[in-house]
Assembly symmetry: C2
Homo-oligomer: 102 residues x 2
């Protein structure tokens, strides 16, 4: 598995629209066969900061996600909502090691 954690800072006036677009992206993403999780989180202490927790079965699934209509739509829709460019961290899984436990 490959885990990608994306951090997004959203302009205050776009928070509601950002959440709606990102929930839509979540719904499309979790329907992809290679996506094990696609959690959308709101930082409890820092308003406007969001985390996406994306878990993929393998690198092919990461690439496939970027070709989907829901990802393209999300990327375009939220581009101007961000206060600064989004950041990502890519992680390997230590536990749970079994893909069936994701």
């Amino acid at each position: 598995m490959i885990v990608r954690i994306i951090t997004v800072h959203v302009k205050p006036e776009h928070i509601e629209a950002f959440e709606a677009e990102t929930v839509r992206n979540h719904e499309g993403s979790v329907a992809e066969p290679g996506v094990l999780r696609f959690d959308v989180l709101r930082d409890g202490d820092q308003r406007g900061r969001y985390l996406l927790y994306e878990v993929y079965r393998d690198q092919a699934a990461v690439e496939a996600h970027k070709e989907t209509v829901h990802y393209e739509r999300w990327k375009d829709a939220v581009a101007d909502m961000m206060a600064k460019p989004r950041e990502s961290t890519t992680c390997e899984v230590v536990a749970p090691a079994d893909p069936d436990r994701w």
Copy 2:
């Protein structure tokens, strides 16, 4: 749900022991009724950096976790393995909103 993301920087000579202790903590934690996820991740770009992705049903589950034997053991075992104090971020869940999808 409440999501806590813990970032840990481990001294190079303790990486193997840290992973072993943290997998043990993972196994105990996912057996707790209020713990929905307890993922252990290794940063792919920054050796020695680890993330714990902890998802709790509610605040009571967060408190209950801190009372467990496996957490106490982990906290004591890894204290001297860290290169600096661990950091945590607490998040609210935007999606999936249904606890059964965690």
